[in-house]
Symmetry: C2
Subunit: 124 residues, 2 copies
DNA sequence: TTAACAATTAAACATTTATTTAATTGTTTA
DNA sequence: TAAACAATTAAATAAATGTTTAATTGTTAA
């Protein structure tokens, strides 16, 4: 084995040290988790997993200003977690229907042990 | 229905607006995601999902200083994602064997599309 | 009991980020 | 076209966070 740690102690690290993904690889995952680190943003994401809503309504539910909501929506969208759709004057947002979103939704429900109001199969 | 959003547009939000978990509830989940938002910390977590390692070795692999590693380990531990075990002079860390850790590990593997070196059943 | 090593803690600094207020863009209807 | 409404963007501020250097605690071996 060509790679060796300072303290070789019979563990397995030397067996896969050269298979560890790079900093950049983990940066991609971290970018997703980063969007869910803020309680307000996470709550918005959860809501959009269960309903399609416009910015004003989200602000009303969240008791937040319009620009603050817009800020969070932009971040969630940049991570491909939600999509937007303008209908007249309003812009409607909802969660993307992707495996990742479903997985993240499941994690949320598990951690919260929420009874998902419509059952997980109703995620948007 | 007693609760109504500013723009009632025939969506489902009014049906579960009073079932939306609180800010504090989402704070609990966010606290977990928060620990995985930093690429370095996430990478450390991934390593500890596959091997039990001491602080010095983690620093060697990560090319990070000892205090920096210690800082990240403390945060991961405070979120119950890793455990520590002192053996002589060294303190060994590894991922907790909990459903949440397995779930987060799966998310990471899926996003990265890594071939888990030992298969997911070998997670520590 | 010293000396050496491993790990943590503390203080300081630089960077990032969430929110507010104000201004701007986009869309509808009067 | 003008007025009203919805949403976004910009600038500014306050708060949180990662890393470094230095000091401290804990453990082992000489």
């Amino acid at each position: 084995m060509s790679v060796s740690t300072p303290h070789t102690h019979g563990q397995t690290i030397e067996n896969f040290i050269d298979k560890i993904p790079s900093f950049d690889d983990f940066g991609k995952i971290a970018a997703i988790f980063k969007q869910l680190e803020d309680p307000n943003r996470l709550r918005i994401f959860w809501i959009l997993c269960h309903s399609e809503e416009c910015v004003t309504n989200i602000g009303y539910i969240m008791k937040m200003s319009n620009p603050a909501v817009s800020h969070h929506l932009r971040l969630l969208k940049s991570a491909d977690l939600i999509t937007s759709d303008r209908k007249g004057k309003e812009v409607y947002y909802k969660a993307c229907n992707t495996p990742l979103v479903h997985q993240l939704h499941d994690v949320m429900e598990d951690v919260l042990r929420i009874a998902c109001p419509f059952g997980n199969e109703h995620i948007l």
